[in-house]
């Protein structure tokens, strides 16, 4: 982990304590708390589990047990561009697994992993509700329908272009200041 990300995380953990205080000490709030943690960090860091357990007077193992039960909660930091490939029924029938394999090959990671530079993460999801556009992949919250192996290439080119544009924008801002 580079130090910038580390510092950022430490600051977030500090802030988490105050945000936890907003939740009543009621076990029924556990899932809401976990969701809040995930929204803050984009994943659930180990320290946060201890803090949540402490707040609700539960054993950390209990909190971990609940968190791991639900597919939504991640225990690894996601990439800057989280890629989700739909493997719902319609997408499966139309070859969603082939799309997933293409991403795996292209990124050289397996489903559930993040690239070493933390740019991309890859996971499978079950139906995002756009079955008529199957097979479907998501980059962040943006849905891409009618995927094909060649469109995987296109997506990366697009992301690359966007990235470069954002960087140019950033540099322009910095030089303007």
């Amino acid at each position: 982990m580079d130090s910038e990300a580390g510092r950022e995380e430490a600051a977030l953990l500090n802030r988490l304590r105050t945000r936890l205080a907003d939740f009543e000490k009621d076990r029924a709030n556990l899932l809401s708390i976990l969701r809040m943690i995930q929204e803050t960090f984009s994943y659930i860091p180990e320290e946060a589990i201890y803090m949540a357990a402490d707040h609700l007077d539960l054993a950390p193992s209990e909190v971990y047990g609940v968190a791991t039960f639900y597919n939504q909660f991640k225990f690894n930091p996601p990439g800057k561009y989280p890629i989700k490939v739909c493997l719902g029924t319609a997408c499966h029938v139309k070859g969603g697994d082939i799309i997933l394999e293409n991403f795996e090959r292209k990124l050289d990671i397996r489903e559930g992993e993040t690239t070493p530079d933390r740019d991309f993460s890859l996971e499978r999801v079950a139906c995002v509700g756009c079955c008529a556009l199957a097979p479907v992949a998501l980059v962040g919250e943006a849905v891409h329908g009618h995927m094909a192996p060649s469109k995987v290439e296109g997506l990366f080119t697009r992301i690359q272009v966007e990235k470069e544009m954002a960087e140019r924008e950033k540099r322009r801002h910095e030089s303007a200041r």
Partner: protein, 657 residues
């Protein structure tokens, strides 16, 4: 609809209605064209936001006095992004345009809105019968449907409470609040409404039990929709959230509950935002919260986000999850209506069940009974996906046959392929062959056939689908989603999956099919909740109706649907391959396509991942890529030791860009 009778409305409701009607009138007076854009998740996925942006831009640039009206989902997913343009001054009726890209949007704004030319070549149909343009009602996709719960979907702005009220919304609640709960339950019982969450439990009976239970009661709308291929609940919430809230409030009054909840999947971020906003709007308008519509009755509603577990759609699992535990179902009885969330009597109803209520209470039980069949009154909503020409959401009266639904309404199988099977009810449902196409769709007939209504997910499969592979897919899903409480479900499902995986990889053994059957039956018996009890359904039905397909997998290592990748191989028909064409080679993601010494193409079977991209890429006039099963039937073409320069690489052969 009954004529508005002022005396039967409360003062609070009349005030709301007046504001709503006033707003509607103001819009009508301003006149000018209205552009309705479908902005539910499916529309957005197809690019509806870009389309809206294009309209906004061109309207501003050219100062066209038109109004953009965001609406929800019309259910015509195959046509997204969908735009309906209502331009009264042009003399044309409202027109339905499909696949409206930003470019098309700008063109329509200029030519139709400014010059009055509707561009006939882009028109899908008119929304009203008229003499100028064929009406969409001439297409069976529109005329055979019977919209009841989805009546307002795609017509109103889900973010605007006034539009819902102007359409008669919350009128039923207003009347119900001044009725005796027993009377409300009587009407619902008389209507014969059965729960749309899957099992079809009579809603009136459930409420009656809740009403007579003791304790501080609670009502919950089940919007977990975990079936990985159904999305009607999401579409209803995204298109018409207040109808669901009104239903929830009616249910709360009937059951005597002062607290309500909406359990919604967090995988549906837009639906979560829309329903949360709707709850807030309703509270501010006095339709929820304290002293609803001046009746003295309170109802607090909270939105609870599920966290992605299929089994949490099961009612006891849902309760566990709301209590902050692992969502493991427990034994019933006690049913949630007597002991549910934190021990309190809890009524759980599906989104659609609740959305029917305002209509039933407004139009009467008789009206509802007049739709559908005797034992399954009303309509059914299906999300039809897979190999059909017009996929999307379809609402039909119960009792319509599968054939009508698939072939007449959804346009049948594309690309002139044959029908093979249909999976109804998602992972808990069954896989039915052609001989079942004429059974009526209702709760009882489907259960009899070994499938079930379930979530209403309907996957149509053409002849190029492998039912073994699809069964394996569903089992993979249920096996992952099993909560792990019952041994049979946890370990048995895993075993089933292992056997199926073996079969689809060509390693099936004698006796595998018998073992699948025996184990399936044991899992059904040995599991506590509906997940385990229905998980083997796809296998049992496909084994019963497509046994020979399993047998060819096991005995010949052949996949007739050409879907099981380990059992198939691609090769290039050298007779048909065009010298110098590079279409397949450039698209291959693994560089498995090489140029032969005769400057044609071959496929290196060791590097080929069988993605099928070359089949799509090969120009139809050559159509040279072939797929065979079993894999060893593919002729072997050696890759030349030295790479052969393909014809297209030579500058003189390259086409001008």
């Amino acid at each position: 609809m009954s004529p508005p009778d002022k005396r039967s409305r409360s003062a609070a409701y009349l005030a709301l209605q007046e504001t709503a009607l006033q707003e509607q009138e103001e819009h009508a007076e301003t006149g000018g064209p209205v552009i309705h854009i479908g902005l539910a998740t499916c529309g957005i996925a197809a690019g509806a936001l870009e389309t809206r942006h294009a309209f906004e831009q061109v309207l501003a640039e050219r100062k066209i006095p038109a109004r953009i009206h965001p609406v929800g989902c019309l259910g015509h997913c195959y046509a997204e992004p969908v735009v309906i343009i209502d331009h009264p001054d042009s003399g044309f009726p409202p027109i339905f345009y499909h696949e409206v890209t930003p470019g098309k949007a700008k063109m329509l704004a200029r030519l139709f809105l400014e010059e009055g030319d509707p561009r006939f070549e882009h028109v899908y149909g008119a929304m009203k019968p008229n003499d100028l343009i064929p009406s969409v009602m001439e297409f069976s996709r529109f005329s055979r449907e019977h919209r009841v719960v989805m009546e307002k979907c795609g017509r109103i702005d889900p973010g605007d409470l006034n539009e819902y009220i102007a359409e008669g919304g919350y009128r039923a609640l207003d009347a119900v609040l001044r009725m005796d709960p027993g009377q409300v339950i009587e009407t619902v019982t008389a209507s014969g409404l059965r729960g749309r969450g899957g099992a079809g439990f009579p809603t009136g009976l459930k409420w009656e039990r809740a009403r007579t239970a003791f304790g501080d009661k609670l009502v919950i709308c089940n919007a977990d929709e975990g079936d990985p291929g159904a999305y009607m609940d999401r579409a209803i919430i995204e298109s018409d959230p207040h109808q669901v809230l009104e239903g929830l409030a009616i249910c709360a009054h009937a059951a005597g509950a002062g607290e309500g909840g909406i359990y919604i999947r967090s995988e549906y971020p837009l639906a979560v935002r829309i329903i949360t906003r709707a709850v807030e709007q309703a509270r501010q308008a006095g339709l929820l919260g304290k002293n609803i519509l001046g009746s003295g009755i309170d109802l607090e509603v909270t939105v609870f986000q599920g966290s992605g577990a299929f089994v949490c759609g099961e009612e006891t699992g849902l309760i566990q999850s709301m209590e902050g535990r692992r969502g493991m179902p427990r034994h019933r009885p006690p049913y949630p209506v007597s002991r549910g969330f934190q021990g309190r009597p809890t009524v759980i109803n599906n989104v659609k069940t609740l959305a029917y209520l305002p209509l039933i209470l407004q139009r009467g039980a008789e009206w509802f009974r007049s739709l559908g069949t005797e034992h399954s009154p009303g309509t059914a909503v299906f999300s039809v996906v897979g190999d059909v020409v017009h996929p999307g959401l379809v609402e039909i009266p119960m009792g319509v046959t599968l054939r009508t639904l698939i072939f007449d309404i959804c346009g049948g199988i594309p690309k002139h392929k044959g029908f093979k099977a249909v999976q109804i009810g998602g992972p808990s449902g069954g896989c039915l062959p052609e001989s079942f196409l004429d059974i009526p769709i209702d709760f009882d007939s489907l259960t009899e056939a070994g499938a079930m209504m379930g979530s209403g997910g309907l996957v149509v499969m053409d002849e190029a689908t492998c039912v073994v592979n699809v069964s394996r897919y569903f089992l993979d899903f249920t096996q992952k989603e099993s909560c792990g409480k019952c041994t049979f479900c946890r370990i048995g499902a895993r075993h089933l999956l292992d056997i199926l995986t073996r079969i689809t990889c060509g390693n099936g053994r004698d006796g595998d099919l018998e073992q699948l059957e025996r184990l399936s039956r044991d899992i059904k018996q040995g599991s506590l909740c509906g997940l385990g009890r229905t998980a083997p359904n796809p296998i049992l039905t496909s084994l019963a109706y497509f046994r020979e397909e399993y047998e060819t997998h096991v005995q010949d290592g052949r996949c007739p649907g050409m879907m099981c990748r380990p059992l198939t191989a691609f090769y290039i028909d050298l007779e048909k391959c065009a010298r110098g064409c590079d279409a397949c080679a450039t698209c291959c993601p693994t560089d498995a396509v090489f140029t032969t010494s005769t400057r044609k193409k071959g496929i290196d079977l060791d590097t080929c991942v069988k993605c099928g991209e070359c089949v799509t890429a090969c120009p139809p006039e050559y159509d040279a890529v072939r797929r065979v099963s079993p894999a060893h039937l593919a002729p072997v073409v050696e890759r030349p030791a030295e790479p052969v320069e393909s014809a297209a690489d030579k500058p003189e052969n390259r086409e001008a860009p």
